[in-house]
Amino acid sequence: MAKIVLKREKPLNGYSKVINKIEIAEYKFDSLISLAIPLKRERKCKLNFKNSLGEPMPSIENSIISKSGILGFRIGLDLLFICNPSHSSFAKKTVPLLKQAFYITDQTGGWCGVEVDGDRVIEMLERICPLNLSQKIFAIGDVKRTIMDHLNVIIFRETEKKFILFSPSSSSGSFLKSIETSSRNI
């Protein structure tokens, strides 16, 4: 039997473009999982998180980046996301460790990440993002769940002028169009 190879695709096929000095690029990650904290087990989860990723479990709407570059963010009372850009031992070592405390759901295929970076990025985001992105309110490392152009979005502030936006993969084309349109319109 001939070996069948399934080619993995990115939602935006590695898109990258600069519009009005805003760099827009697909945020590439190897895997994205969600961690649900079992009822009344937060303390155990905090210990497990620290052991698994070497960083304290973030508070709600906050994030951590591990030494190996793994991004973890908490978007609710009992829900976190872990985004692994490329760390090879994540699936074999880290995930089984996390499974000892959390309920884990693989969401790698469910989300598309878009990085937006540049001096005019706030101006651009003002057209689609209903959140107050003032640094006093939404500081570096903060993360929030919101709606942009009717789409569910998780926004993460990496630096003053750089954000990562996660939105559902099925509508990633529409979301990218919203970002492009906003960038052109400023």
Partner: protein, 978 residues
């Protein structure tokens, strides 16, 4: 005319056309100021009587100068010339006339004025009844309206956006700028929004002195300072048009309206502004006085005459009279006289005043009883009998605080008897809208300065912010007092109260006589205060007139309140970028690219685009493709993308208890690696949604929902989890987007899948029977989930892989399936096969049917509580006469069935009383060679073999059908278990 020494004449000269004639203006002009400078007096015709009208005001309160701008698809009607920033190449034209604006055939209405007063068509067009729709209404509609739409799609771009601030300051006059300077010192985020294209508000219209200099110097300094501050943002050309709850305001920013070249950038932006406090510095609006023929071109608000003269160096004529009931009218006289214009007279309704200019001829205690000059005022007659020749009459009935936005949340204004003015009520303060300056009813600049300091510093103190120092300004001294002499007692049919809607004093009297005395009734009966200006210049006149008739004062009469929008807003700006295909997001299935390459015809299902069918060469009609897809699937194997079905990952130690509560049937004992069909009810016992749920582990289930209900079911489950059963350890994650899921159906489906899965023996019937599921690997280690479930009735599976492998797997299944003649099939073939099998779908579970209707009553567990369980036992749901899901086929096989047809017993007439049910889904069955249908009919399960009529009254079609089992194909389920 233009004052040649005015600084505006040093600016760039601009050319524009109005009614096809070329004119010149200057950068900094509005269209209105440029028309005045060019002595264009008639700019439009009035709404009802088509009387010639000229420019009346200098702002968004303008009732007369509504013009059409642009050409072709860019044409925009009903634009206020007073708000239009002049640019080189501007094209404007008058509207609402038949013939030309100078000779309007519709002006015959003016002669019929006595017959077509307020409410005339409520009375006139009562009979004969049948004339209304075909005669009266079309005529009225043709005669009504102002400008005309281009009837072409607007090619301009629009956008929307969100702004956040601590302090929103609406207006940039002296109180707005002072507020901004003070609040900026606190470090809070300040947003200044100004409707005009320059900042400064009313100061730009006056010759006031601040700190010993012209006020423009102070404006420049203040604006420069504000622009240098990082926490201050200024939006000019922006109008806040609505106030909403929770400190939310809506504003329209005009980005490119003042540029001729059509820009790819948005023309306007619809901003949603979130603020903690709003400082309302929107100033005040001057009102008119009602006197006979007070609507002639050349009769203008006195403050506006002053604005045009001071700011733009523009004025009508040389012989100007001022008619006033307050001190401010005298200021206009002073300013115009200082410009060298001849002031023929100041007519003041008050008998005693402190004369402001002794060298101006004055007529105290007098009124104007008549004016002359149809197409432009030529003379006025006073109550003393004197007649004065004038070519411009400036009228001032006093000032009204611009409190429009304070009313949007039902704030009711209160009457201030000192300044004869409505002020914002307590509601505004509760809503954190803080009026300052003239908006607070303070009209003298020296008092505005001290009061704004006091109000803003008090706000800062109240909020516990760092206190800035007072702003110390010295200024000119003003005085303002006003009488309420607003309506004349003579010739009420020609005394206009509301210029925009042609409401006269006679109309107010008629309203009073007919019992419409309440202000709410008055407004609706007479149309006072309606239309694009919302009565900004006329409301107080109307109220004063009604007060006079009732023998009371305005505070007793009360007032209607303003509603959003403050100014007209283009529908396109409200829609912003949500037009055409951008109206809503599009969701693509994981196999979209492969389906596109195979020429799939797509259909919108919610936001999803799904392949409907896959036409092949030579197929010219959709059913050829669908029939082929069905037959190839039933004969061999077909593959369909079913990713759009909702997938919910349910984990937690209490998830089986949770599922027992949301489904009518039990899931606690479902073995691991097995699937069960589940039915959900609403709380009222009506069927809500159905689907299969697979158990992957002791504490791990995967629920599927229908495509249409996926978000609703998840929301409902979250409600149950968080509100009804908060003590259960259950977690829900939507994984619809995470997994690409394909149905592989048909007798060769297993053989095809065995080529894909890494361990083919794992899926033989013995190891993987009907309703089994498992996690496995395919194609050399790719994680996958396999479910042995069948919607088609065939031996079938659904295979799921992470979405990123979706296109690849769909392609692989088709290429590996070539040896079986595998076919991709779309939603049409899917629908046909599920009808053939008798599976209920959205047409059957449509919010009107119950488990009993669907023949699923045995699925309602009586042992445990579940949502809808109790109410499903209602008598009406369980009688012997209830409609049940049945199959239907035409007696004559060549006949077509129509979904929605009503089922009527043979020999009975198709009436509501005889209606026994309906056809919910129909399809042509290529398997059986004729149409089939599913539907609901009373006692259907006991009437198999009986013939009834399927009546479609919309198509006037009656078809005789036979009631049969809903399971047209493989009723015993042998195939799916094979």
């Amino acid at each position: 005319m233009r004052n040649s020494s005015h600084p505006i004449t040093n600016k760039q000269k601009l050319s524009f056309t109005f009614n096809g004639k070329k004119y010149f203006g200057y950068k900094g002009d509005t269209l209105a100021s440029a028309l005045i400078a060019n002595n264009v007096k008639i700019v439009g015709r009035s709404f009802k009587y088509h009387r010639p009208r000229g420019i009346f005001s200098a702002g968004s309160e303008e009732p007369n100068a509504l013009v059409e701008l642009g050409a072709g698809p860019y044409k925009e009607p009903n634009t206020k010339a007073t708000n239009v920033e002049l640019f080189d190449g501007l094209e404007g034209s008058s509207q609402n006339f038949l013939g030309s604006v100078n000779f309007d055939f519709m002006a015959i209405n003016d002669l019929l004025k006595n017959f077509i007063g307020a409410g005339f068509y409520y009375k006139t067009f009562m009979w004969p009844k049948r004339f209304w729709e075909k005669l009266y209404e079309p005529i009225i509609r043709r005669a009504a309206g102002l400008g005309k739409l281009s009837l072409k799609a607007d090619p301009s771009q629009y956008d929307k956006g969100y702004l956040h601030c601590d302090f929103l300051i609406i207006g940039s006059g002296i109180s707005g700028l002072m507020s901004a300077l003070l609040l900026a010192e606190t470090g809070g985020e300040v947003l200044i929004v100004e409707e005009d294209f320059i900042l400064g508000g009313r100061l730009n219209s006056e010759r006031l002195v601040i700190n010993g200099n012209q006020s423009s110097i102070w404006i420049g300094q203040a604006v420069k300072k504000l622009k240098s501050l990082k926490n201050v943002r200024i939006l000019n050309r922006t109008t806040v048009f609505a106030a909403f709850d929770h400190g939310i305001f809506a504003a329209i920013e005009k980005k490119t309206d003042h540029i001729l070249e059509k820009s790819p950038k948005p023309r306007q932006i619809n901003w949603k502004i979130y603020t903690k406090s709003c400082i309302l510095a929107s100033g005040a609006i001057e009102r008119s006085i009602a006197f006979p023929q007070n609507d002639r071109p050349g009769i203008m608000l006195a403050g506006s005459v002053r604005t045009y003269a001071n700011r733009f160096g523009a004025h009508y004529g040389q012989k100007i009279a001022i008619y006033t009931n307050n001190d401010d009218g005298w200021r206009t006289a002073d300013d115009l006289k200082n410009m060298g214009l001849e002031i023929k007279a100041v007519i003041d309704t008050r008998k005693e005043i402190k004369a402001l200019s002794s060298c101006i001829p004055s007529y105290l205690g007098q009124t104007i009883t008549k004016t002359y000059g149809r197409k432009g005022i030529k003379a006025i007659k006073l109550s003393s009998g004197s007649k004065l020749n004038v070519d411009c009459l400036a009228v001032s009935g006093g000032w009204s605080s611009n409190i429009h936005l304070t009313c949007h949340k039902r704030g009711r204004p209160v009457w201030d008897n000192i300044y004869k003015n409505f002020l914002s009520g307590d509601n505004a303060q509760k809503d954190n809208i803080i009026p300052v300056g003239a908006t607070r009813g303070i009209f003298e600049i020296q008092n505005i300065i001290s009061d704004t300091n006091r109000v803003i510093l008090s706000l800062i103190e109240k909020n516990g912010l760092s206190m800035p120092a007072h702003i110390k300004l010295t200024s000119s001294k003003e005085q303002y007092s006003c009488s309420l002499d607003l309506v004349s007692s003579s010739n009420p049919s020609n005394s206009f109260i509301d210029l925009q809607n042609d409401v006269t004093q006679k109309d107010i009297e008629l309203s009073f006589k007919e019992g419409f005395k309440s202000v709410e009734h008055l407004k609706r009966y007479s149309t006072l205060g309606m239309a694009t200006d919302q009565g900004k210049t006329s409301n107080i006149l109307g109220l004063a007139s009604m007060a006079k008739l009732k023998g009371t004062d305005i505070s007793e009469v009360g007032t209607t309140i303003f509603r959003p929008p403050y100014v007209p807003v283009a529908i396109s700006a409200i829609a912003a970028r949500s037009r055409g295909k951008d109206f809503k997001p599009t969701r693509l299935t994981p196999s979209h690219n492969v389906a596109s390459k195979r020429n799939a015809v797509f259909v919108e299902t919610g936001n999803w685009l799904r392949a409907q069918w896959f036409p092949e060469k030579g197929e010219t009609f959709w059913r050829q493709s669908v029939d082929r897809e069905v037959m190839q699937t039933r004969n061999s194997v077909g593959i369909c993308d079913v990713t759009t079905l909702g997938k919910i990952d349910i984990q937690g130690k209490d998830c089986s208890e949770f599922l027992n509560f949301v489904y009518t049937n039990a899931f606690a004992k479902l073995p691991i690696n097995r699937v069960r069909y589940g039915l959900m009810l609403r709380e009222d016992g009506v069927a809500y949604d159905d689907g299969t749920t697979a158990r992957l582990g002791e504490n791990h289930f995967i629920m599927t929902t229908t495509t249409a209900n996926a978000p609703l079911v998840l929301r409902n489950l979250e409600f149950v989890r968080q509100c009804l059963l908060p003590n259960l350890d259950v977690h829900l994650i939507s994984t619809t987007d995470s997994w690409a899921q394909y149905a592989v159906a048909g007798p060769n489906s297993r053989r095809l899948l065995q080529k894909i899965v890494d361990k083919p023996k794992d899926i033989i019937n013995e190891n993987f029977p009907f309703m089994a599921c498992r996690e496995l690997t395919i194609c050399g280690g790719i994680m996958a989930r396999l479910f042995r479930i069948s919607f088609s009735g065939e031996l079938a599976y659904e295979i799921a892989v992470p979405t990123q492998y979706g296109n690849a797997l769909f392609d692989a299944l088709l290429s590996e399936g070539e040896e079986f003649n595998a076919v991709p099939y779309g939603t049409e073939a899917l629908g046909v096969m599920r009808i053939e099998k008798g599976h209920a779908a959205g047409n059957e579970i449509n919010g009107q049917t119950t488990a009993q209707n669907l023949g699923l009553s045995r699925m309602i567990s009586k042992k445990a509580d579940s949502i809808g369980n109790i109410l499903s036992e209602r008598e009406g749901f369980n009688g012997s006469n209830i409609a049940t899901l049945s199959g239907f086929k035409p007696v004559q096989h060549s006949q077509k069935l129509e979904a929605g047809s009503h089922l009527i017993s043979l020999g009975k007439t198709p009436t509501m009383e005889n209606d026994e049910g309906w056809l919910s889904s129909v399809a042509f069955s290529p398997t059986l060679g004729h149409y089939i249908g599913l539907g609901f009919i009373e006692r259907g399960h006991t009437r198999v073999g009986e013939k009834v009529f399927a009546v479609n009254l919309l198509q006037n079609k009656t078809t005789e059908v036979e009631i049969v089992s809903p399971h047209f194909v493989d009723p015993e389920g042998i195939k799916q278990r094979g």
